[in-house]
Subunit: 246 residues, 3 copies
């Protein structure tokens, strides 16, 4: 069984982050938490979130799993006003999820989770670490939008962090000195490139005031670590590198 109440805003943020990777998702249900692990269809990005029961207003669950259609969930969240809570309940007999907001009830069939893979998170030790608020990354990504290019470059050294995008005609960068970063570990100058669209999507889905830890090394995936739901949900996002010459 699964019966949990959650603030609409909390659910909205979680759904927005997950839906940068997949449209349908398998949720692992545990007595004290939910687990989400999903890889995008092109196998370029992976999201991994653990949501503890403290992220919920109330939470009762047995071990199990459910498949969600995220677009349907988003549409229901739109019915909630500010401060509203949403009651989510799984009816295993009918294979349905019901969501209740005040006088409104919305029930939907769950998505079949057979065939949904269980991606394993690759063990990665990345040497370069930068911590920076999501809104600054969002601003940097907006600056790159009008440039005809499909990748961005991350750079760091002991002086600071630079996110940039360029082609023959245009160049945009966000350059943050070490003094304005929340954390910085960079042994030497390091540079690595990633897909602009993927990085832009994940960065836009994170609330602006959330600190994001970026971990990267040349030709390795970049890892984004951040907390949601007032620290009650731990998220990590992996994005494959763009190898030069590809």
């Amino acid at each position: 069984m699964f019966k949990a109440e959650i603030k609409a805003d909390t659910l909205k943020t979680l759904v927005n982050v997950i839906s940068t990777v997949v449209d349908e998702v398998k949720i692992a249900i545990h007595p004290d938490s939910l687990g989400i692990r999903a890889i995008d269809p092109a196998r370029v990005a992976m999201i991994n979130i653990d949501v503890s029961k403290e992220a919920f207003v109330s939470f009762e669950a047995d071990e199990g799993e459910m498949g969600f259609d995220l677009d349907k969930i988003k549409n229901i969240i739109k019915l909630a006003g500010p401060g509203d809570t949403i009651l989510m309940e799984h009816d295993p007999n009918q294979g349905r999820l019901s969501m209740t907001i005040g006088n409104i009830i919305r029930r939907m069939s769950l998505v079949d989770t057979n065939g949904m893979n269980d991606p394993s998170v690759p063990p990665l030790e990345l040497g370069t670490k930068v911590q920076i608020n999501a809104d600054l990354l969002q601003k940097g990504m907006r600056a790159t939008e009008t440039i005809d290019s499909d990748h961005i470059k991350m750079e760091a050294d002991s002086e600071g962090f630079t996110l940039s995008c360029d082609n023959d005609l245009d160049f945009a960068s966000l350059k943050v000195p070490a003094s304005e970063l929340k954390a910085l570990e960079a042994q030497q100058h390091v540079a690595s490139s990633y897909s602009r669209d993927y990085f832009s999507n994940i960065v836009k889905s994170i609330p602006g005031n959330v600190p994001v830890s970026l971990q990267f090394d040349p030709d390795y995936p970049i890892k984004l670590l951040f907390e949601l739901s007032d620290g009650n949900a731990h998220a990590s996002y992996l994005l494959a590198p763009r190898i030069e010459g590809e």
Copy 2:
């Protein structure tokens, strides 16, 4: 002759409600009121509004009739700021309506009313009556929007009122207990179905804080009764039932 001044907001609401049924409308002009009676092209819905002269800031009129293009009227209303009044004047010689907002004058040819029918309002005594604010109905209809179905179901019994929509995969409902309804008359459990789009359109056009009286019986049209313009306009809307098996 017809010369009347009206608050832009009042006119806007009236035009929005009428234009859920028709694009062009014939207005019957009386010395103390206006009368609107219109049926939609598919003959599924009918609107009937009496607007007393008290809904206007000033009102002078002889018996007559005028044909309006509602889209043109809507566009003129958009020119008004909050609190602006609109002076409407009929020039019978030119067959034109002039509308004045401050320094702006907009004149338009009237629509030919020959060939516009005068629908008669069918006498209907409906047994089930529910009164509920428009914003709650709007919320209920929004909950049904993502469901692939073209009709909704109304139900009432002594316990309360339910508006719902479903198909094999999805279900949405607004369920209001008797204690939260403004009025409830239901001898027994009653259920009847109607077109979702038509019902959604009329409900969205009514200001949220307006109480709407729903009157229905199985396989009969549903009647919506509500007041606009601070009680100076009385509206009734009839919508044909969806007979099961159709």
Copy 3:
């Protein structure tokens, strides 16, 4: 060299006004000012703006010229928050302009100014003069939008000013009496017609609280004179007349 800092709002207004005429513009750079003179591709409208160094937060420049892609500039301005300033710097070696907003740097190649003409401003002494705030002209133009016509008519006499648009079915006007005009010079009744779209575009690009001086005579271009950047930029806009029978 060119290195200047300007408030994002000031730059935005200047760019909006210029881009009603051209997408790419040549800017003449002087030690104490910038000069913009551009004619639209159809040769119907001309803009002429002198921006003194007082419009800038800081300004250092040698004599020269630069070609700007206005869409790129607009996109960068969108990155600025309220109150932000933008540092613009020309790198003559690379032929690039760099724009800096906080931690964001955006560099772009300049547009080739060879082949961009230097339109000469025709000497025009126009007899009829009307001064009126831009927001009133904007409201008048909005009133004409739903009328199927491609020109508008300006009229003035000692009583006041009228802007109007009509066809066989519809008529819209803004009529401002002399007492509500900021200035009025009209020896006799004068009427002249101009392209609705061109006039609408320039009028919409001017901030609402800016007084606009309209100067016109029958079958002559209309001249709009207005100040931007708190009086530190002087703009004139010329629009060819629509000759009756054309």
